[in-house]
């Protein structure tokens, strides 16, 4: 299958999942929508689940990549984190249905999809590693400080998407930034960074 067709098919799978739900979605309908033949599908994927897992991987890899790219754009560590967070929130807000597929519709399918979601969430932790070097507390910080920060952001973002407010996520970037930075920097410095982010908006 051509890369463009594959990408189109994977995107169509997630659109169909969002529209019909896992049980009701039909691969045949998705193939028509994506303009992909049954033979091409069968040459690439063992079944519906294999295709869905590939589609979810494509979606979450894109979100992680966009975040990592923005994190790498220079400036001091808090500014890089702010850039990454803003990029992620813009991505989620730009496609609310895909945001819901990422956090809820796909993970709801079962135990293995839920494990993939957990892997996706944990994938953000390495992006925060520079915080230990930047923070005054440095080596005193807990082993799990990155996951505490990631989990804090995930909880807030999850509730907003679940409540149907994905489009408003970018406006929450300064507040979420506070929760991401506070385990590394403490409340005073995190609050100052939040106010800086508010002024830039």
């Amino acid at each position: 299958m051509q890369p463009a067709a594959r990408e189109r098919l994977l995107e169509a799978m997630l659109i169909e999942l969002a529209a019909s739900g896992y049980s009701a979605m039909r691969v045949a309908d998705t193939l028509i929508f994506a303009g992909v033949s049954k033979a091409d599908f069968e040459a690439e994927f063992a079944d519906k689940d294999a295709c869905l897992f590939a589609a979810y991987e494509q979606l979450t890899e894109r979100l992680l990549r966009k975040t990592a790219e923005a994190c790498g754009r220079g400036g001091e560590w808090p500014a890089r984190v702010r850039g990454g967070l803003e990029a992620l929130l813009e991505e989620l807000a730009g496609a609310p249905e895909m945001a819901r597929v990422a956090i809820r519709t796909f993970p709801a399918i079962g135990a293995e999809p839920r494990a993939r979601y957990q892997d996706f969430v944990e994938g953000f932790a390495p992006l925060l590693r520079g915080g230990r070097e930047f923070a005054e507390a440095g080596e005193e910080l807990p082993d799990e400080v990155e996951m505490l920060a990631v989990g804090a952001a995930e909880a807030i973002v999850f509730e907003e998407i679940e409540a149907g407010r994905a489009e408003q996520l970018p406006a929450l970037a300064p507040a979420i930034l506070f929760s991401v930075l506070v385990p590394f920097l403490g409340p005073e410095a995190a609050s100052a960074e939040m106010e800086r982010a508010q002024q830039k908006k």
């Binding site: 079962g110 135990a111 293995e112 957990q118 807990p142 804090a152 909880a155 929760s179 403490g186 409340p187």
Partner: protein, 229 residues
């Protein structure tokens, strides 16, 4: 993958010998609730069937239907039970002789020990109710979070002054702890949950206290763990 560890039996030993597997609850309804939690821990809620839950509880499908209208009602009952147990465990730690900070420390410790002892129920309340079940279960999950938020909110009065904290800071503080708990449950390592107490305490206090003070409480949590006190 989900934890497959069996929960420790908490109820009386009656009927243990005639029941299949690891279900020891005395009443048929409680056995079904336990079977639901164990089955969901292995397969996830969506893939769990009424037949399997009934078989695991040692009852017929008809017996199941006499206790619950459907799978969702049984699942919701299991989430409800875990939330009641969580609230009770945390409340005991809220004894008046402790400072607000110590109450949090002891309350979180009680929660982690409860979840380590009952990983299937913990997974149902923490993972399935949030992402795998229907709106009613999600509502229960969020009501549990609001209780924890109310407990944490009591710290505001003693928090470091002169700091602007967003309203979502409290949700973030709990979310950090949840992420660690979910990771251990999904990895099948529930026995590690109590060891996370110092880091979780740090994450919950970090938005409120001076950083060195939050680190000091994490150290106290470590001492509490080491002393077994």
């Amino acid at each position: 993958m989900s934890s497959q560890a069996a929960d420790l039996p908490e109820r009386g030993p009656q009927e243990t010998r005639i029941l299949p597997h690891d279900i020891v609850a005395p009443s048929e309804r409680d056995r079904l609730i336990e079977a639901m939690a164990l089955t969901c821990a292995e397969r996830g809620y969506a893939a769990s069937s009424v037949e399997e839950v009934a078989r695991r509880a040692g009852v017929s499908r008809r017996d199941f239907e006499e206790n619950f209208a459907d799978k969702a009602e049984c699942g919701t009952a299991a989430v409800n039970q875990m939330l009641a147990d969580i609230t009770a465990a945390a409340s005991i730690a809220y004894a008046p002789q402790y400072s607000e900070w110590e109450k949090i420390l002891r309350g979180v410790r009680a929660l982690l020990e409860l979840m380590a002892a009952r990983p299937s129920f913990a997974g149902l309340a923490q993972i399935e109710a949030r992402q795998g079940m229907g709106p009613e279960a999600y509502e229960l999950y969020t009501s549990g979070i609001r209780i924890l938020e109310a407990m944490l909110d009591r710290l505001q009065a003693n928090a470091l002054g002169g700091v602007a904290r967003p309203p979502s800071a409290i949700r973030g503080a709990i979310g950090g702890a949840e992420a660690l708990i979910r990771r251990e449950l999904l990895a099948g390592r529930p026995e590690r949950l109590p060891e996370l107490l110092p880091d979780i305490i740090y994450g919950m206090l970090a938005p409120y206290l001076d950083q060195q003070e939050a680190l000091r409480y994490a150290g106290l949590a470590r001492e509490l763990l080491n002393d077994g006190g």
